[in-house]
Amino acid sequence: MTPRLRKYLELERLMLIMDEDGNQAADALRDAMDPIWYSLSGEERRILDQRNIGRIKSLEEIRVPAGSRVFGPAPPPAMRLALPKEPIRGWTLAA
């Protein structure tokens, strides 16, 4: 996806949300998007024309802070434990 197409889609989402709310600014934003639309390539416009756009109510519903609690180092390789050769006794008590 090109940066120009990404910007167009972001603006379109905002426009659809405002349109859904009945906000008249949606029309102004739609008009303001025209220069970006015409700057897209023919292929990009063709892809956009072929979409089915659902009703978008919000950009994001749940927002979660990202940081070291979400993104961390790769986990170490799993320990290799061989299956026991003897029958396991008392496992129901442990469960």
Partner: protein, 134 residues
Amino acid sequence: MSTVVLGGNRFVDCESILAYRGTAILKVGFAPLRLDLATPEDLPSHRVVRVDQQGWSPQDRVRVVRTPQSFAVFWEDDALAVATLLDPETAHLKLDLRPLGINIYDDPDGLHIGQNTFAGNRVSGSAAAISLGD
């Protein structure tokens, strides 16, 4: 109407399930069922995965297994995401991105993201159902 069931949550008609800084990182598509996964490129683990309609990478560590009713993405032997079609408009998603150093997974308690757990939510008509941000 498309619905994704994940960790006891229902995501209805959402463009993406997860997004990071405004960019979708996990999408579920229907007809046919498919997953798009694009992890951030600046991960501390340096395990960057991309699965989309053009293919997947890195080719030597990521595997995609698909049938008409399911679509699964593996990091080596670990399942990252497994989508199963429950009916033509509903998919069940099992997610565990921990092998990539991303602390997001689901279990019977719900969907875990970092220290947060989400369960029993219904999100509809959202561009990004869950957005990870600063």
